[in-house]
């Protein structure tokens, strides 16, 4: 902040990288030794598999085959819906709920502890529970509908759109608490004076959220949405365990379709091609995310 040239070159904003420097030989040896384990991991388990995958899926004919496959096109639609609806509903609900959880009453804190159990619960038990809860007449959801409202619920996994909806709900259930906590921390970092100033100017309630809170959180919201998009595109567990692709593989997403091509249909190259076909979307998202992370100084 001061105009004096910084005496401490390392008083950086978080997320900013220090300028590199030329190390003395003995130091360089230490630094390389420290970096070596990660370099080995990166080469053996990131560079090699990615390269190998791209190599296997290099044939353009594979992509022609994919686009001719009705199942692939349906899966792309499902993936877009799963990610588009899932991520946006989740993030919007999370940012609204974070407003509840900044309150300091004891019952709010107790509620937060219960709410976060969804996140601490491992994915497989959680999604297996969703599967069983929604399965036909025997499931808890239809049982509740019958007992409480006298309504006969649908057979959830018999319809593509219902099955997809169930997957989205299950996904949001599992991961919304995590993002809520991130937004709670974001709101906590807003200085109280800003609220007071806004209150003096007459901005309260919905107006305060729209004109004060949201603009401050906007960068964080964008970064989290991009990150959640990357994670959700790659989500395998939800679809694999909740709807199991039912009915007749019509609620698959790319991650599970690639898996089925590779391991059930014994066409690994086609499976890799199916997943790699998402790269033209993923790479720009990742690039914007990296820029935002560095420019905005957002801390996760």
């Amino acid at each position: 902040m001061s105009s004096v040239p910084s005496a401490h070159p390392l008083s950086l904003n978080p997320g900013e990288y220090p300028p590199g420097r030329r190390l003395q030989r003995s130091e360089l040896a230490w630094a390389l030794a420290f970096l070596a384990p990660y370099l080995v991991v990166f080469a053996a388990f990131v560079v090699y598999p990615v390269g190998h995958g791209l190599w296997i899926a290099r044939d353009p004919a594979l992509y022609a085959e994919l686009f001719a496959d009705q199942r692939y096109l349906r899966t792309v639609v499902n993936t877009v819906l799963f990610v588009g609806l899932g991520v946006n509903l989740m993030m919007f609900a999370a940012v609204l709920l974070s407003g509840l959880f900044v309150r300091r009453e004891w019952w709010v804190r107790a509620l937060l502890a219960v709410y976060l159990t969804c996140w601490a619960l491992p994915a497989v038990p959680a999604f297996v529970s969703f599967h069983w809860m929604l399965i036909g007449e025997q499931g808890l959801v239809n049982g509740l509908l019958r007992e409480l409202f006298g309504v006969e619920g649908p057979i959830w996994f018999n319809d593509r759109w219902l099955a997809l909806g169930c997957n989205i709900i299950a996904y949001v259930w599992k991961w919304m608490p995590f993002w809520t906590v991130v937004f709670v921390a974001g709101r906590m970092a807003i200085p109280q004076e800003i609220y007071e100033a806004a209150a003096v100017d007459g901005a309260t309630g919905a107006r305060r959220f729209l004109h004060v809170v949201f603009p401050i959180l906007a960068n964080l919201y964008l970064v989290c949405t991009l990150l959640a998009t990357l994670w959700t595109v790659g989500d395998f567990n939800t679809t694999y365990l909740v709807s199991i692709g039912a009915p007749a593989r019509s609620s698959e997403v790319l991650a599970t379709l690639g898996f089925h091509y590779a391991f059930d249909a014994a066409q690994p190259a086609l499976g890799i091609a199916a997943t790699m076909s998402a790269l033209p979307i993923l790479v720009p998202v990742a690039l914007v995310l990296m820029r935002r992370l560095q420019a905005g100084g957002v801390q996760l």
Binding site: E27, A123, V124, A255, Q299
Partner: protein
């Protein structure tokens, strides 16, 4: 509370002065009441939303028979029998339950240890020793997340065959460490910025080697970040299913989630045993979460978020 009281006084005084501010006070009170009702309503809905799937796990696990469901809201004869079956491995799907549980623990502990070790060493070299082009490596590491882990599963599986590591717990640990370490480096780096570099410099002048600085200064000061990232890595390993499913095939080397999903293959699905298994498997992460709750949410968000 005190605010509300003060407000009541203010509006009373206002009533004697001008009717306008009295009306405003009434309005403010009404708004506050509606806000409290709204918060309560949202809280109740959220509680139902959270608890229904959890309740479902318990309900099914308390069924005394696996396949017959006479009443779908509460079991007719609730019993803890299925937990006993799980603990004593009394069903053929659960023969190796404790072995599989040990495998899960092994994978979790291995993932935590190697993620912390590799991540902290790399972030020390990049952030503290300020090695040239360190930022490049750190960014390259983050690019790992461009391709989701599940998309890499097929090539990863093939490469593990080449390395001769199929049906080996180490192949799973390698996969989990690969996907946890970039996040670890990122968090360690951000946290490390808050530790004054002068500490390192002073130690170096006193003759400490970089190894000693790492061990005696960096690691102890990084303890909160280590706890947060360690918990993250453990939960990652405990949540992960696809790689464990692909890379572990024999009953003896399987982890619990793989064994759990195997129930889907069975025709005579004993769902009550499955849910009891799920509950036993969920106890460690939930317990750890409640034990480390304060530190974890602080660590997850690393002391606040700057917009």
């Amino acid at each position: 509370m005190s605010v509300a009281v003060a407000d009541v006084h203010a509006s009373r005084e206002g009533a004697t002065v001008s009717p306008l501010s009295a009306a405003r006070g009434r309005q403010a009170r009404r708004i506050r009441r509606w806000k409290a009702v709204g918060a309560g309503g949202i809280a109740v809905l959220l509680l139902i939303w959270t608890l229904v799937p959890l309740y479902n796990i318990f309900m099914v696990s308390l069924e005394s028979k696996g396949d017959v469901f006479t009443n779908t809201i509460w079991p007719d004869q609730p019993s803890l029998g299925s937990f006993w079956i799980v603990i004593t491995e009394g069903y053929w799907y659960l023969e190796h339950f404790w072995e599989q549980f040990a495998n899960s623990v092994y994978i979790g502990v291995g993932t935590v240890f190697f993620t912390l070790a590799i991540g902290s060493l790399a972030s020390f070299a990049i952030g503290r020793m300020r090695v040239r082009y360190g930022w490049l490596l750190s960014n390259a590491a983050l690019m790992t997340y461009v391709i989701p882990a599940s998309f890499l599963a097929i090539p990863f599986y093939r490469i593990m065959q080449i390395y001769g590591l199929t049906d080996n717990l180490w192949s799973v640990i390698a996969a989990e460490v690969t996907f946890a370490t970039p996040y670890a480096i990122f968090i360690f780096h951000q946290y490390g910025v808050s530790i004054p570099i002068e500490l390192d410099e002073a130690a170096r002048i006193d003759g400490a080697s970089p190894g000693q600085v790492y061990w005696k200064i960096y690691l102890p000061l990084m303890a909160p970040a280590l706890v947060a990232v360690g918990t993250y890595a453990l939960l990652l390993a405990w949540n992960e299913y696809l790689y464990q499913f692909l890379l572990l095939s024999s009953k003896e080397s399987m982890s619990v989630p793989v064994a759990l999903a195997q129930f889907f293959n069975s025709d005579e699905a004993p769902w009550n045993y499955m849910m009891a298994t799920a509950i036993v498997y969920s106890i460690p992460p939930v317990a750890i979460y409640y034990a480390f709750r304060r530190r974890m949410s602080a660590g997850l968000t690393m002391g606040g978020v700057k917009g």
